[in-house]
């Protein structure tokens, strides 16, 4: 277990380093510079600006100094928003994105599991068909379309919920639903198929023969095993929710990290691009890692230190 964690930790550091390197050089290869947007800046001002942000130094030097500051968790300064540190921007944006992401994850997992279990228990019944139709629709309709439909119907047409921004709990509902339908559908389908499989197992028959209540059979015996596949895809789902939040944050005008990421790319704000990418990737890699560890604990049959295959 310990060796496995250490090995994975090493791989995480390498992945993160690779991402930093890749992003750094890709970003500098991109045409344009952060100062293109500045109106009426003459050559001297441009040169001063370049010097101020050390952008005139050799690229290798910039790269090394950036790596060095990363070791201190210092993401540098924003170029297009003078006076703002990237750390500051992340500290502003991350809690909002995190709240949206966590809400989405909770809603998606809860509703997905409930739908999946109901569908499996009423296999080939009306509830099963309804739940699976809902799931297929959830997978087929992209989240940005779901978001616009929700705004159109619930906010503009019926005035039930606010259409945009992020100030009260009411504002959280629509973006969460829009972002959660896709993952919910995936979880519902997965839960249903693994639940169907588990319900045919001998130990379920034994539990039934012992006279356990249906509730106990489902929750204590079946669900515990049926949920393992769901845990494995939580990592990838988190990634999907993270990237999905770019577009959802844009549509609902939510002041989260996604906005900074897209804006910084368009304005070539080098340090903000680097900061958000590294932060996102780091967060994602840690999530994937935690999911794997959790999986090892939940299913004692999986031996983490053994290589698969």
């Amino acid at each position: 277990m310990v060796t496995y964690i250490l090995r994975r930790f090493g791989a995480m550091i390498i992945t993160l380093w690779l991402i930093v390197t890749l992003t750094f050089f890709l970003m500098h290869l991109a045409p344009g510079s952060p100062f293109n947007q500045e109106r009426n800046t003459n050559a001297a001002v441009q040169k001063n600006l370049m010097e101020h942000y050390h952008l005139n130094e050799p690229i290798a030097f910039q790269y090394l100094s950036y790596l060095k500051s990363l070791l201190h968790f210092d993401f540098g300064m924003s170029i297009t928003q003078p006076g703002q540190t990237v750390n500051g921007l992340l500290a502003q944006g991350f809690p909002v994105s995190f709240e949206l992401g966590m809400m989405t994850l909770v809603v998606a997992v809860l509703s997905g599991v409930i739908l999946g279990v109901l569908a499996a228990l009423k296999h080939n019944g009306i509830i099963d068909y309804l739940a699976m139709t809902l799931a297929v629709i959830g997978i087929s309709v992209p989240n940005f379309i779901m978001a616009t439909l929700l705004i159109q119907e619930l906010a503009v047409h019926w005035h039930v919920l606010p259409a945009a921004t992020w100030s009260s709990p009411k504002h959280v509902i629509l973006p969460t639903i829009a972002l959660a339908t896709g993952p919910m559908a995936i979880i519902a389908r997965l839960t249903r198929s693994s639940m169907l499989e588990v319900l045919t197992q001998d130990y379920i028959r034994t539990a039934r023969a012992k006279g356990l209540s249906p509730y106990k059979i489902v929750v204590r015996h079946a669900l515990r095993n049926a949920l393992l596949p769901v845990v494995t895809i939580l990592g990838t789902l988190t990634a999907g929710i993270l990237t999905g939040s770019f577009v959802i944050e844009k549509i609902f005008a939510i002041p989260g990290m996604g906005k900074y990421f897209v804006d910084s790319i368009n304005s070539r704000d080098y340090f903000v691009i680097m900061g958000t990418t590294v932060f996102y990737s780091g967060f994602l890699i840690i999530m994937l890692f935690l999911v794997d560890i959790a999986y090892g604990f939940l299913d004692p049959r999986i031996k983490l230190h053994k290589k698969e295959g």
């Binding site: 992945t15 690779l18 990237t243 990737s281 994602l284």
Partner: protein
């Protein structure tokens, strides 16, 4: 008599035959022939899978929908009397009518021609990206799985690292570096997209290479390349096809997503994602058709692929069926 007939014995055969009329023997012989006759034609793997798929109503709906969508995407822009990019300034924001079947947008462009032109681009991106993923993924996964040992270890470490990269972040960065455009989208989508296919092919190959028929081939001294091509790949085909029907909609989704963010196909060319983004203003203006048609076509395409993919999975992988 009947009893004797069943217990036919050579020693009694002479004197039994005297008492039994001839027609009884012919009767029995014919029955035997019938019992061993192959009534149904023998089916190979693909015919069998097709038979199963045809029984699956939902999957067939998906297949038919998909064929209709592809045909419309190819031919509708050609036969439409309107151009997808031509702006008719007097015909702005017209609702669906006889001349403009899907209405027109804020610049007076025909949404029918534009939607199907966009669908063509989306489908094109989806298919090409999936085929490139297939090509790289199968070769990489095949070699990794077949060679095993150290080669496999190193190749899979690389895949693991690529798998850890946040997919869309990398795609967005690549789009920025290479400049927006159709070929950029395809390169960006496939740069990290082949990893999933490689992992799946490797897993399958690892399993199949231990079967006896592969050992037999190896004993004959068949070359590695031939073993992979003739013995291993045909047996992984089912899984590969299922994976492809999942890759195509996810590529279509990514393209729409990028275009929606303004990083994909650039105006004046149409793409369903771009059109959905244009249609966003419909929420306030009430021109519902500018949003509805592109959104509906994307959703329908994704639906068709997903349903067909599910059906194919059931049809091609009988082991998983229950």
């Amino acid at each position: 008599m009947a009893l004797k007939n069943v217990n036919e014995d050579e020693t009694f055969s002479d004197h039994v035959s005297i008492s039994i009329p001839d027609h009884l023997f012919t009767e029995r012989r014919r029955r035997k022939v019938e019992a061993e006759a192959v009534v149904r034609p023998s089916l190979n793997y693909w015919q069998d899978a097709w038979r199963r798929l045809r029984k699956n109503k939902l999957a067939m709906t998906g297949l038919v929908l998909l064929i209709i969508l592809v045909v419309l995407a190819i031919f509708a822009p050609i036969f439409s009397s309107h151009s997808p990019t031509k702006q008719v300034l007097t015909d702005q924001n017209l609702p669906p009518s006889k001349t403009y079947w899907f209405g027109t947008d804020a610049l007076g462009r025909d949404l029918f021609a534009r939607s199907w032109y966009g669908a063509r681009i989306s489908l094109f991106v989806g298919f090409i990206a999936a085929f490139i993923d297939l090509f790289i993924g199968v070769i990489y996964g095949g070699i990794s799985g077949y060679k095993g040992g150290k080669v496999d270890n190193v190749m899979m470490r690389m895949v693991e690292i690529l798998y850890g990269l946040p997919y869309l972040l990398m795609v967005i960065l690549l789009m920025v570096v290479m400049g927006p455009g159709l070929s950029t989208i395809i390169v960006a989508l496939t740069a990290t997209g082949w990893v999933g296919m490689a992992r799946i092919v490797r897993g399958q190959v690892l399993q199949i290479k231990n079967y006896e028929f592969v050992l037999a081939s190896q004993t004959f001294g068949t070359r590695t390349r031939r073993i992979i091509r003739k013995n291993l790949l045909p047996n992984t085909m089912g899984t590969i096809i299922v994976q492809m029907t999942l890759t195509i909609p996810s590529a279509i989704f990514s393209e729409a997503f990028l275009s929606f963010l303004g990083l994909g196909v650039q105006p004046p060319y149409a793409s369903l994602g771009l059109m959905t983004n244009d249609g966003l203003s419909a929420i306030l203006t009430g021109y519902w058709w500018t949003l509805f048609f592109p959104a509906f076509i994307i959703s329908l395409t994704m639906y068709a692929f997903n349903v067909l993919g599910d059906g194919l999975q059931d049809a091609l992988d009988p082991k998983l069926r229950r």
